[in-house]
Amino acid sequence: MNERHRSLISGLSRDLEAVKPLPNLNRLGMAWFLLSAFYVAVVTHLFGPIRPGALTQLVTEPRFLLETMLGVAAILWISLLAFRSAVPAALSKQFAVTGVVLLALWLAQYVIGLFSPALTPSTLGARPHCWLETMLYAVPVILAGLYFVRRFYPLRPVRTSMSIGLAAGMLPALYMQIACMYNPVHILLFHILPGLLMIGVGAGIAAVWRPRRGRRRTKRT
């Protein structure tokens, strides 16, 4: 070890401050997901009525329920994945692959729905600005997620933020299939696509709002 390393180690360990132990990432990710889902549901109801009979269809139409539950599972998994990616070595390849597979399975339901829809397509309950609502509702969710993950140490902050953006964008996109009209073409173009665009928004916010890596350094005398 040379003098440069010795003096660096001495500087880093001088006046060392205690740090809080890492919270349970799964619990934190789950809490973010649940609070965000609650917020999206509330704000969607505040800005317009949901499609009449949509909740009943969840009980009476098994494929519609499957579609919705797959969406919930995929978004929850992506949320956990995003939080894990903010801590070195906490995200395994298998966990990431499972998230991608779940997401692909969920989105495949709408592609299949183009030929064989889960519900009869109709314009009942159509919201005039559903695509804009999807994007706007996702922004506070992204900011809340980034507020948490920035406190950790994401080795790839932009990639982590893209995962946060994806989960945040997909939450209102999923809820729109209850709140807005049901038609797979409409869902893919006006709910899913704006939701996917939030990946870019997440990356953009992360590029500007970078983690302050120096703030946990010890005081030097």
Binding site: H5, I9, L16, A18, V19, P21, L155, R216
Partner: protein, 222 residues
């Protein structure tokens, strides 16, 4: 030959043995890590995890001891993968700072080694990517390089640099651009001229070479 001596003289010497290793009641850590960090024994891992937990609580001496030991481990890990050259110094320093900044993210319920090497791998690639011509080697060496390249020979120093197993795994064209630009400190224009290719091709090759290195390091089982 003078050029080779000049450059080898600037290569950092292997780190000292930390006095604190003796506390672990076993042979010096560095000896077990001469070739690969994958040889780190389980007891070291437990000891490091305990030291880190203690450091998280604010214990300065344990933290100093941990960083001292990790310096050697990181040094040997990088040397076994990239060969013995100057940019490793920067990598070790960057890694130590990153470990310090990320120390609150270590979870005692998880193993220490994957956490540590995730940071080191990331910092190594990051340092290599940012590494530019600021660490120019001596003009004397450059002169020798030019002579050697004219005669079509590869210098001993270049061979020494490429000896790192990771660099060795790259194709010749990627090795050439990476060694010339990132390790020997030639500019893109100089590298392009030496290799007889365009500047944009040099940039593309450097980018791809670093990406391949990053992938190789990700796949590294520790």
């Amino acid at each position: 030959m003078t050029g080779i001596v000049t450059v080898l003289g600037s290569i950092p010497s292997p780190p000292d043995t930390p006095a604190s290793s003796a506390i672990l009641n076993k042979p010096i850590l560095m000896e077990t890590l001469t070739t690969s960090a994958s040889l780190v024994p389980e007891s070291d891992e437990r000891a490091w995890a305990d030291l880190m937990v203690s450091a998280q609580a604010g214990n300065e001496s344990d933290y100093r001891r941990l960083l001292t030991e990790l310096t050697n481990v990181i040094y040997n890990f990088l040397r076994s993968r990239f060969g013995n050259h100057h940019f490793i110094e920067d990598c070790v320093q960057e890694s130590l700072i990153a470990i310090h900044q990320a120390r609150h993210t270590y979870d005692r319920r998880r193993p220490f080694r994957p956490w540590l090497f995730a940071i080191v791998r990331h910092k190594a690639i990051d340092t290599l990517r940012k590494h530019n011509t600021r660490q120019k080697i001596t003009g004397q060496y450059k002169g020798e390089q030019e002579t050697l390249s004219q005669t079509g020979q590869q210098s001993d120093v270049e061979s020494e640099i490429i000896r790192g197993s990771l660099l060795d795994s790259l194709s010749k064209e990627y090795q050439d651009v990476l060694v010339l630009t990132k390790i020997m400190g030639f500019s893109v224009a100089e590298t392009a001229e030496k290799l007889g290719i365009s500047r944009s091709l040099v940039k593309v090759r450097v980018h791809r070479a670093i990406r391949k290195l990053a992938q190789s390091m990700e796949a590294d089982q520790l």
